[in-house]
Symmetry: C2
Subunit: 462 residues, 2 copies
């Protein structure tokens, strides 16, 4: 039997078994899998993995853990990138994959309530005949609960917002097992503190999100996607800045540098020019999409772009965006055995070209392989550094590069993380970004989780 | 000299005078004015009114108040509607009107940072030559700080969002005088708890907002407004529901019932048909506005609307919206000596017609004069009940009607307040709306303001 941390005892496990029966496992392989995210971070397996099926079961389990002061780590699909699911102090992992019911769809209100384990692709599949879709798209087929917990965004955020904007309400199990509803389904409210936004992005440290009500949007009458390449990074990013500043309601505007584009070409069997490239998507009426595309075309041409390669058929568009979405995997595949370390800064749009160009110089001066991909319409971009996790020199070099990048972004009035979250990977930099406000976060944490059992060791120090 | 509450002593006043000099007044008339909002609520004057000029001065004053455990009540323009500025337990009113500097405009990032006392009209005037505007428009020329504190919205929210969406970051003085920045200027962030959204809508109960960074938007190429009347309320509201469900990006869509329209006609010297009426505004490119207007025209015609009365020139549009904005004053003027009591429910859009129609029946069965006006695109509407504050029977009748309305909205998964906030007027209903979540709000309040000096007696009980 595995060595448990002091707080996970046989007595605690038996109390949980009384709630969930055989939906508790101590299997080493399952525990290892649940301590491992998609990043370079070292795995920290939990002591046990439990598969609850309802908010009430989660509540009962958390009550048991609270009595024993045992850590509780909520788990969606394990696609996080900053060690959010690491059981740093052991504890009970709550894998919510069996809470995968779409509870209610209200097409007439353009919202849906789902259990936290529902993934974004599953939701969109189940919405298929409603004419509506859920837009937040981080690439990975993450769970809606996990996306809410990390305040995820992705390629559509420039038009439709992030989880901050797209979550209307949530059911949350608090650290003592109480169940709350953070808000109601009305589109706006001034009824007290905005608990919905407090729990969106709380990364499991304030409670377990068990149900999420999300906004839906009408599938546009017309959708068209394009790829356009530029001679240099500055021309591409300057085009993005102009497009955003002109208020063109573009749905997606994504950047890959030449290295990133090369990796995508190889991985996805494509043959786009190996140059700094924008992937674009337009949503609207037929006339609206045409008008947007013309305006964007003029801006890009003014910056010396190549021709637009259009994808209007659904299959072509899907292939194009699939290629963009697997960019991190494509880049990782360029170095067999390597692990991806995705940086995640976000800056005001006017500083984006400076931030990317200075960062590119920094990468060029290093020994690292680190293409740039990014949700540039939001001012957010990633270096996908592919590192050998067994090589301390390389990790030190990547750490230093990321530190400089985060400080550069903060100096530009930006953030160390646009969408990946803090986890335990970015706690140190949070002081530099937020200063005294970090103590306010800690005060909120202590008020809602005085024994620090909810995903301890993430976001704020206790 | 006025009788002070036990905690506002001469010693405390002298300490504050040492910070602000003669920008502290004990004048009865000034105190009375600062205890009186625009609602039917009874005035509660503060013990003194202070006019700080900087975040640092606010911090020093709050530190003094914290030492003396004296209440601190932030004051913007006094246009609140739920007694937010009432000094229920006496205390020091911080009137932020002298903090009225636009600190920075970043046109290239489409944002601006202002001191809290800047009003929305002042900001838009100062933005005049940037091609940008700040869209949140509650009608009154409220201060940006006050609008952030009450999570205000208004006529443009259906397109541009409320203060929840339009505030990027804030400077806040906490209950012990510490100064924090809630966030940075990046458009999105996953860097810890969303303190910006926690303080938006906190009504001065968690700290004093001293600076606000807001999103700006490009002034659209084309703007056009229209008024259209219907034979009955249901036809008007059903048109709204269809417009929203079709995803038409309408900028404003406002409803007045026949009684409200009649009051507006009389007050503003207009002669629109005295029928249930929608005020509409379209923003976009020339072609986009035309397309939107055609789609909306078809929907309204399908519901038996009258002709659209168009206003395309700026002066015509301003006159039209001025008439809509003064609707509450127009309705109040119908009953000389009366005070307005504006209800504020917001429901999911599919329930809007039911909610308005059931409420209308309830009004018809009462003795009250209470026209309906509303931001119907968000599912939000107001009854403007004009009451005699000296008549207890009338107040009892209005109280009962509002209680039924709030419970009706909550039963429809809506909220008791879409935009006016809780103040001390809606604390009782908050339990019905939020249940256990109210205790989470109280825990946050206690963590950040353990001595309950920040605008005590609002939102949550201590």
């Amino acid at each position: 039997m595995a060595a448990f941390s002091t707080r996970v005892t046989d007595g605690l496990l038996n109390e949980i078994r009384a709630i969930v029966g055989d939906r508790l496992t101590l299997s080493q392989s399952v525990r290892d899998q649940h301590g491992t995210d998609e990043s370079y971070h070292k795995p920290y397996p939990p002591d046990a993995v439990v598969y609850p099926r309802s908010t009430e079961e989660v509540s009962e389990i958390v009550k048991v853990c609270a009595r024993h002061k045992a850590p509780v780590i909520p788990y969606g699909t394990g696609t996080s990138l900053e060690g959010h699911i690491a059981a740093l102090e052991g504890g009970i992992c709550l894998d919510l994959c069996e809470m995968n019911a779409v509870v209610a769809v209200h097409p007439e209100d353009m919202d849906a309530t789902v259990q936290s384990g529902v993934t974004r692709k599953q939701l969109n599949t189940q919405l298929h005949n409603t004419g509506l879709f859920f837009p937040v798209d981080p690439g990975a087929d993450a769970s809606i609960g996990g996306m809410a917990a990390t305040r995820a965004s992705g390629t559509n955020a420039v038009r439709y917002g992030t989880m901050r904007e797209c979550v209307l309400a949530m059911t949350v199990v608090l650290a003592d097992g109480r169940i709350i509803q953070t808000s109601r389904r009305a589109r706006k409210s001034a009824a007290g503190y905005d608990l919905t936004r407090l729990f969106v992005g709380s990364e499991g440290t304030l409670g377990v999100i068990t149900e999420v009500t999300v906004r839906l949007f009408g599938i546009p009458e017309a959708i068209s996607s394009a790829v356009v390449s530029f001679n240099d990074i500055k021309s591409a990013v300057d085009s993005v800045i102009s497009i955003i500043q002109m208020g063109i309601p573009i749905a997606r505007i994504e950047f890959l540098d030449d290295a990133g584009l090369d990796a995508v070409n190889r991985y996805s069997g494509l043959n786009f020019p190996v140059k700094p490239t924008l992937f674009l998507e337009f949503h609207g009426t037929d006339a609206g999409v045409k008008e947007q595309a013309e305006m964007v075309g003029e801006i890009c041409a003014g910056n010396g772009s190549g021709e637009f390669l259009w994808a209007t058929k659904t299959e072509e568009r899907n292939k194009l965006w699939e290629a963009r979405h697997v960019a991190a995997y494509a880049v990782t595949a360029m170095r067999p055995g390597g692990k991806p370390w995705a940086t995640d800064v976000c800056v005001p749009i006017s500083r984006l070209a400076d931030c990317i160009l200075e960062t590119k110089q920094d990468v060029d001066a290093s020994s690292l392989y680190a293409p740039v991909v990014g949700h540039v319409g939001d001012g957010n971009f990633h270096l996908v550094m592919v590192i050998d996790p067994g090589n301390p020199d390389e990790i030190a070099e990547a750490t230093a590069l990321n530190d400089r990048l985060m400080k550069r972004a903060i100096a530009m009035d930006g953030t160390c993380t646009g969408e990946h979250g803090v986890g335990h990977g970015k706690m140190d930099i949070l002081d530099a970004e937020h200063g005294e406000a970090v103590n306010v976060m800690a005060a909120v944490k202590k008020a809602l989780d005085p024994d620090n059992i909810m995903n301890p060791g993430k976001i704020v120090r206790f």
